[in-house]
Amino acid sequence: MKRYAWFIPALVLVTAVLVYPALRTLALSFFHLSLGNGFRLEFGGLDNFVRLVGDSRFRASLVVTGFFTIVSVTIEFILGLLLALAVNGFVRYQGVVRTTLLVPWTLPTAIIAVLWGWIFNDQYGVLNELLIRSGVLHSPIAWLAGPNTAMAAIILADVWKTVPFVFIILLAGLQRIPQDLYEALEMDGAGAWAKFRYVTWPYLMPFVFVSLTFRIIQAFSIFDLVYVMTGGGPGGATETVSVYAYQTLMRYLDLGYGSTIVVATVLLLATVALGLYALLVRRYERLF
């Protein structure tokens, strides 16, 4: 009994900041509670979920979020892996390189978003300046003004910020692989690709799972970059689920429906994470 008492502070803290808000959000998603009904708590059963299914703005934001997540995480993963493989080869100065590469990850996202906003500015932007000087463009492009270029701009900013995260996790994974496995393969006359295919990749799998899970969850809930760079525009073309949930909860003060959006999103994400788990972890179980 005495031993368990030590858990009480942690338990209280987790309950207060995590379990209670989560349960309350879940409960609220079945209620009407908004500025529109004078903040009277009324049980609505599945009303909010029915509304959600018919909500074209929610569907549009899901598509935007899904697209953003798939594209940005794929690019981030490939770049992060290549960087990790490259840096793992460095024996000297590895600490310096590692730290330098981590800098973008440590900066606050909202500030990064403001900076990238100026980089993509049509009149003052560095990007247009570079492209015009190198002869790729003749006249400046208003990157954040078009639906597709705005999405590309946000993805680029996100890749810049989060490649270091994937990189550092995969690098940790690489450094954990026993060197004698490579030596054994070398004795059998294996080349670089075989080493990667039969040792590096399977041994890296737990780290692949961790980095992908974290990145997918974070990308799916992206808010600050979008909110600052485009506000969800133009015409809602970059509005993600989090931005929509924020608008509904904080600006429209529709707490019931806003909670429903959040709950539905969490359920979706949990499904994706479980799918990923089934796909990667189960297959390489013995390595975890």
């Binding site: 954040l144 525009g233 904080m250």
Partner: protein, 366 residues
């Protein structure tokens, strides 16, 4: 409160505390983004706790906060003499359903700045705006700058053009929606026609500062912005110092010009444990001498007739508030999204306005 970099607000609060030793007003500084401060207040109010006693309140928050029952009714507290002196539109904008919830402190309004060294007569109509823009724009200089990013500023820009064509958005009393009327289409077509011709293609990504920087660097003939730009263009290090004039937004022939009203004031939380002290403070900080002091330090324009600088009078006479409905944030979002979709060529202007009108009716309709 907003960030108090210059210490001006602290000075005023200190003076109040010195006069009332039994009352201690403490300032809580928030972030500079106004919608983040709106969220801070909303969060405190939703928990029904004390949190803040006095609210430094943006003009567009009033209907929402008042409808939610979060603000004290101040109608009977404000003396008649003050009621006379405060700008009528600012008082109206501080009211909800005929009751006053916010005492005005500073007013603001949309302004059309122009380069008076280029444009000899002050522009009056949309045609003037186009004509002078075409005439004086060159490789280094654009014609007309405005704020076209999908955010609240886009609505204020559009409203001024809409009103200038004799149109309107929502009637707060009757809940009528006018967005699918011909005037609205003319307004949207005008705004859209500026993009890439007299306005830079990126104008649909600008908020206030992007457009002000270009104008202040001498790279545009016209700029639609707020009153704060006036003091900045007049600074010693400003390339356009002494070469800027200001008028309210231009209009269609036979119509009148209108400016979107902005501005800040003070309200009192319904959850305060100290309404008397809170009121004494609101009364104190909105006194002419205090407002004048803040005006001199921060450039804010006092919302009192007796203190408005003469050069701003024509603008403020043209100022009109946005519709005072509790669902304002949603109505504004509907308009922002459809305007932005039309301006970025995702849908036609006709379709955008028809859809915006339909969604707005669903929102505010009976």
């Amino acid at each position: 409160m907003e960030p108090d970099g210059s210490g001006t607000w602290s000075d005023v609060i200190q003076r109040f505390n010195d006069l009332h030793p039994d009352a201690r007003i403490r300032m809580v500084e928030g972030p500079p983004a106004t919608n983040t401060r709106e969220d801070m207040y909303s969060t405190a109010f939703l928990s029904q706790s004390g949190g803040y006693d006095v609210v430094f309140c943006d003009v567009v928050w009033v209907p929402k906060f008042a409808a939610a029952g979060w603000l004290l009714d101040l109608s009977d507290r404000l003396p008649a003499a003050d009621r006379q002196d405060f700008l009528d539109e600012d008082l109206k904008a501080g009211s909800y359903r005929g009751r006053l919830y916010r005492v005005p402190a500073f007013t603001d309004a949309g302004v059309l700045y122009y380069r008076k060294d280029l444009v000899a007569d002050s522009p009056a109509t949309f045609d003037d705006l186009k004509k002078f823009s075409e005439r004086f724009k060159d490789e280094k200089r654009w014609g007309f700058l405005w704020q076209g990013k999908q955010y609240e500023g886009l609505v204020t820009n559009f409203l001024e053009v809409l009103w200038g064509y004799g149109g309107d958005w929502i009637d707060a009393e009757t809940k009528e929606v006018f967005l699918d009327r011909p005037e609205a289409l003319l307004a949207l077509q005008f705004v859209k026609s500026t993009i890439g011709t007299i306005s830079p293609p990126g104008v649909t990504t600008y908020s206030e500062e992007e457009s002000r920087n270009l104008f202040q660097d001498g790279r545009a003939v016209f700029l639609r912005n707020w009153l704060y730009v006036w003091a900045l263009t007049a600074r010693e290090d400003s390339p356009v110092k002494g070469r800027v004039g200001l008028v309210p937004m231009v209009h269609a022939p036979g119509k009148t010009n209108r400016a979107t009203l902005g501005g800040w004031g003070f309200a009192i939380s319904r959850f305060t444990s100290n309404p008397e002290t809170a009121w004494k403070f609101v009364e104190f900080i909105t006194r002419p001498d205090q407002l004048q002091y803040i005006h001199e330090r921060l450039g804010r324009v006092p919302a009192r007739k007796s203190l408005v600088p003469p050069e701003f009078e024509p603008i403020l006479r043209a100022a009109r508030p946005r519709p005072a409905i509790p669902e304002y944030a949603q109505a504004s979002d509907i308009l922002q999204r459809w305007l932005s979709a039309a301006l970025s060529d995702r849908v036609s202007p006709e379709f955008a306005l028809r859809e915006a009108a339909r969604e707005t009716r669903l929102l505010v309709g009976p």
